[in-house]
């Protein structure tokens, strides 16, 4: 009997361990990214914005990732860029998600209205579709031309560009939820449209946008890098992965591979971690809470 009762217990424990591993493993790189973003600039061996050696030192003991065309330490710059890219992407993801929720809710609730307001909201919905059809980097280039390049303006530009996706996700949910019985019931109790939108529609419409926020984060990282690569990013020598890749691309063509390679790897890792592992983590946690 003892044997028959121990086997299920072991199986339960192994299932628990397996679940913990599935949840915990994705957490490690996420935590590492956060730690590097927070503490990285304090750990760097050299000032990431100062010339510390002759240009184009190959990777080695003194400069692990080598030096760039200016003689700046690439390891220090890659690490320091993590904070900037992660901070810009985090604020962008938050702003785009919050803005997208407000916009999606407003349009979704308003576009069935008759008259001018209905036309207006339906028009805005089509504009959001249009935003989706045009490559984000093109829109960002146009907006940057007017707003200039600084961290606040970059965040603003990216938030505007990426808000449309979030707004469309919320709007799609709102269109389904607004005619649900519980919304009608709330309406019949005399609640105002604004009140029932916030109390009843929002909680049932926001989840897709929240789930998509890590993806927006990843898009923000790539867009920041793309703008930097196209030469309209933050002013030099701000450590930023895209600008570093752009600066090193011509070097790579003539055999100096290191200035572009290390920021490229960092960029890929950050996007993979946030856009793929965090949603996996969230799904795992939601599954556990539902289970």
């Amino acid at each position: 009997m003892a044997a028959t009762t121990a086997a299920p217990a072991i199986r339960v424990r192994s299932v628990q361990w397996g679940r913990a591993l599935r949840l915990g493993l994705p957490l490690i790189p996420v935590l590492l990214l956060v730690i590097v973003a927070v503490f990285g600039p304090a750990w760097v061996p050299y000032d990431p914005e100062r010339i510390v050696a002759p240009p184009y030192r190959a990777p080695g003991g003194e400069h692990w990732f080598g030096t760039d065309s200016n003689g700046m330490d690439i390891f220090s710059r890659t690490l320091a860029a993590t904070r900037l890219n992660v901070v810009v992407a985090t604020i962008t993801a938050l702003a785009a998600t919050l803005g997208g929720m407000v916009l999606g809710l407003t349009i979704g609730m308003g576009e069935s209205a008759s008259g001018v307001w209905g036309v207006l909201f339906r028009g805005i919905a089509r504009i959001l579709d249009l935003f989706e059809a045009v490559p984000a980097v093109v829109i960002a280039l146009v907006v940057v031309a007017f707003s200039g390049t600084s961290i606040p303006s970059l965040v603003l530009v990216l938030s505007i560009v990426l808000m449309s996706t979030q707004a469309r996700l919320v709007r799609t949910e709102v269109l389904a939820v607004r005619n649900e019985a519980f919304v009608d019931a709330a309406r019949m109790t005399g609640q105002s449209e604004a009140g029932l939108t916030i109390r009843h529609v929002l909680p049932h419409s926001a989840m897709p946008a929240m789930e998509n926020a890590p993806v927006v984060f990843g898009q923000a990282v790539i867009l920041t890098a793309s703008l930097g690569f196209l030469g309209v990013g933050l002013p030099p020598p701000t450590p930023e992965w895209g600008a570093m890749i752009a600066q090193g691309a011509a070097d790579a063509a003539v055999g100096r591979w290191w200035p572009a390679t290390f920021p490229s790897i960092a960029l890929i890792l950050a996007v993979v971690i946030v856009a793929f592992l965090i949603p996996r983590l969230l799904r795992g946690r939601r599954g556990r809470s539902q289970g």
């Binding site: 200016n70 700046m72 993806v215 020598p237 003539v254």
Partner: protein
Amino acid sequence: MRTTTGPAAIRRRLLGAGGLVAAAALALAGCSSGTAPTDDSSSTAGDARDELVVATSALPSTFNYDGGTGSGAENEELSRNTMAALIKNVVEVNETSGLPEQNLYEFEGELAESYDVSDDGLVYTFHLRDGVLSQAGNPLDADDVLWSYERKWLAPTATNKSLNNPVITDPLSQFQKIDDLTVSVTIAAEGQGHLLLSLMANNTGYIYDSDLLKEHVTAEDPYAVQWSMENANHGFGAYTVDSFTPGQELILAANPNWYAGELPIQKVTYRVVADPGTRANMVASGDADIAESIRPVDRADLAQTEGVKVTDFAFTNLLVSLGMLTNRAPFDDETVRQAFAYAVPYQSIIDNVYMGAAARRVGFLSPTLPGYSEDSYPDYEYDPDKALELLAEAGVTTPVAFTLTVPNWLPDLEDAAVQIQSYAADAGFDVAINKVSLADYNAGGPAATFDAMLRRNYAIVQSPTYVLNLLFNPDNGHTRWVSEEYRSIIAEANAQSDALAPETVDLWLEAERLRLEEMPLTVIAAVPQLNAFRADVQGHVNRSDNAIQFSNLSIGAE
């Protein structure tokens, strides 16, 4: 069902984008061929070897300068090869470099067979070559010369008026047709003769095919400027534009009507290659005969590459300089400007940005000027302690913050700005770098909107008065520096009978010294031409317009 807007779909797109970035970056890093030549014997451009392939960063934006929009090395090079002037600078082999270079003080005929000067030095008479035909087949005559200068002045978009000051102010009265093949030009002061000849030997003096252009005159375009901006082959140059594919390719063909006869290079194909590293690789591998606008670091590599050569001229007029806006803080204080001149790491820029191939220069005047000497000049070198001392003397709070503007299409200037930012921090300056587009750069400089700006440019006309005036126009000069003393010294020099006489040269040097003391602008270095050639391309001449003149080139053993 695959959705196009849901998180999963977006993640797929994100993966694609990330993958693309990764693939691009890693492919560049991993698949590069370095600078080793692949096959020296297969050097490009077909078997005839009277053809050249040029890897360039951009193609000309116009076929003609007179629209006022033609600045840029690509436009300069196109006009140099498709247009011609009455005279040209004599070319000599420099004793130091062993390379052909322009003599900036001696001239000979180009479209004119010869010229002579009256005894009082005020009348220059040009004798045109007989039988010269334009690219369109029209004969050259005195009317072409007079009409060309009339157009340079009277066309609504003409930019030549200020450039020709003070020697040519009214071509309608100064230029006279003696007969069909003789033109005289009268100037006001004997000492302006060198300036006149320098102006007439360069892009400011190109002669148009007036017979052709008059056919395209309209009420709105009375000198066919717009037409000639859009349509090539309206001059007497060595090459014609054979085909032009914007953004991709430009083909020049030898002009069968060229006055000097058949050219060794019959065809030149420009191919646009955006990446400078790829351009360098093309000349290294033999896929191009010439790579233009390469980076200094690639130039240094190519100098060591078998089958490739770069030109180490004894002197270039390609100057990197840093101008400061003198009519507002922080550079409205002369002492702060002087302090900043001690905060610029000149030697580090030469070593780290130009790989040691640039030369320290402090002034705009050419070192080839007879009697040139820098002995009287203040000695500005990187000295952070001296800079801090001067800032304390000026009574300003440190760090002194300002924005340094650089053009976003010249990576060497961006690198130089980063060097300045890094080193000037130790000298009491907090420099923010502002990268701007061509349009913003060209608009912002003359409009005096930049605290300070880096430039890499050259004075095509190497006459002292032209050089000293070029960047210091009080109305639109990017430093807005106004010095009556400077103007009066130049005026005094202009009034001398010989611009190159020792006492006149002393005046030019005195003007330069004054500019260095008041420091509206610091010259950092003379940089090498950023071109590379296959080793069998011979004859590239060091010109003041820094263009490659294909009529000088040939292909063959060194």
